[in-house]
Symmetry: C2
Subunit: 203 residues, 2 copies
DNA sequence: TTGACGACATACCGACTGGTCTGTATTGAT
DNA sequence: ATCAATACAGACCAGTCGGTATGTCGTCAA
């Protein structure tokens, strides 16, 4: 049983997905070029159309198999069993911001947000699969706040769904405006204000 | 001095700008087609390249002459002399949301945000001219909060620039997530949470 | 050994892109 | 009336796009 040489479909497919994610992240979906993707993946059109039905299908796969899992891992999982969402959200945000700045993610912005802004009005499948990510993130935050209330770490009169919806929106907006301003200082300012808001939800 | 018949450059130019705004708002800048723009404007390529250097130049003009003034009129001007930003922001948001829903702007989102997300990493001129709008909006909000503090309508310990940066980001994020979810109810939830936040800044 | 199928590579296609070129009608100044 | 300059119209261009058709090579079952 050979591990791999050159002829390994899964490997090829994954390389295409990775290259496509990169291309779409940098140039958007419409601006993204299949020719550049096959170049980046070190393969050809034949391979792409063998593994995917077309550009859109490739786009859906990128959302489903690259963006969504990565998003869960970075944002959702750490909050899965939190009973003190205010403290934990602050920590997650700090980490996330640091990571964004470090690997230059500030330049190209949040992949979820980017694709959503560009494609959700143009393609219903894109909208739905991206909305899934937002819904999951909102539900995770809301559930954490509900637990936080029970644990006495959050004021009893806050509405978890409302607060969660607002926090998710604020996060998306912060990523977007920070990307546009290219100003780390502004990102810190906004984070500080968000933290103040979170603290205002303490009992 | 004839007012106008058919040969009126200003009119033609304006029609091109309007059609371009529409096209870019619907399909983004990269996805926007010059052919569709000339179709929508009822003119030809010759006219477009007579009035503008090219697609990018047309895009800058749309930002400068259509989006920016319109944005000021809707968001900035009503806050220009406010001494009670919390009350006034809530009113402006309510109106803005209602208008968005009414004319279907919820589908295509905020033009500033859309263009910024798509083009700011790809073209420095786009980024700068869009950043101007954000900066102006932040400064307007910050100035209003500064006056609000003096007038005793806002807590003395809030930092106007920080709060302004956060509010602007939250607004952008709310518009974006609402557009993606296509859910008016969600927009109301987020608005409610934003209002709670604003109220928490009262003395 | 052979046949069949999966996994690509390559050449190619029509559609469409932004942009140019040339011609022409209109305008205002002289 | 004349003459430039302006304001377009429309044909046309090279290049790129996503997508397809066909061929080749490796792998595995029989």
């Amino acid at each position: 049983m050979k591990v791999t040489t050159n002829r390994s479909p899964e490997n090829t497919r994954q390389r295409i997905l990775d290259a496509a994610f990169d291309e779409f992240h940098k140039n958007g979906f419409q601006g993204g070029s299949l020719n550049r993707i096959v170049g980046g993946a070190g393969t050809t059109k034949g391979a792409v159309f063998h593994h995917f039905k077309g550009k859109k299908d490739l786009g859906y796969a990128v959302v489903r198999e690259i963006i969504h899992p990565h998003f869960n891992q970075q944002w959702s999982d750490p909050l899965a069993y939190s009973t003190d969402p205010i403290t934990d959200l602050k920590r997650i945000f700090r980490q996330g911001a640091k990571k964004k700045i470090a690997d230059g993610g500030l330049v190209h912005g949040c992949p979820v947000n980017n694709l959503a802004q560009e494609m959700s009005p143009l393609d219903e499948k894109f909208r739905k699969s991206l909305e899934k990510i937002y819904v999951a993130w909102r539900e995770t935050v809301a559930a954490a706040f509900a637990r936080g209330i029970k644990a006495g770490k959050v004021r009893k009169d806050v509405s978890p769904p409302k607060v969660a919806a607002f926090i998710v929106a604020a996060q998306a907006g912060m990523a977007g405006t920070a990307k546009n301003s290219q100003d780390e200082e502004l990102l810190l300012q906004m984070s500080h204000a968000l933290f103040d808001y979170l603290d205002s939800l303490k009992p």
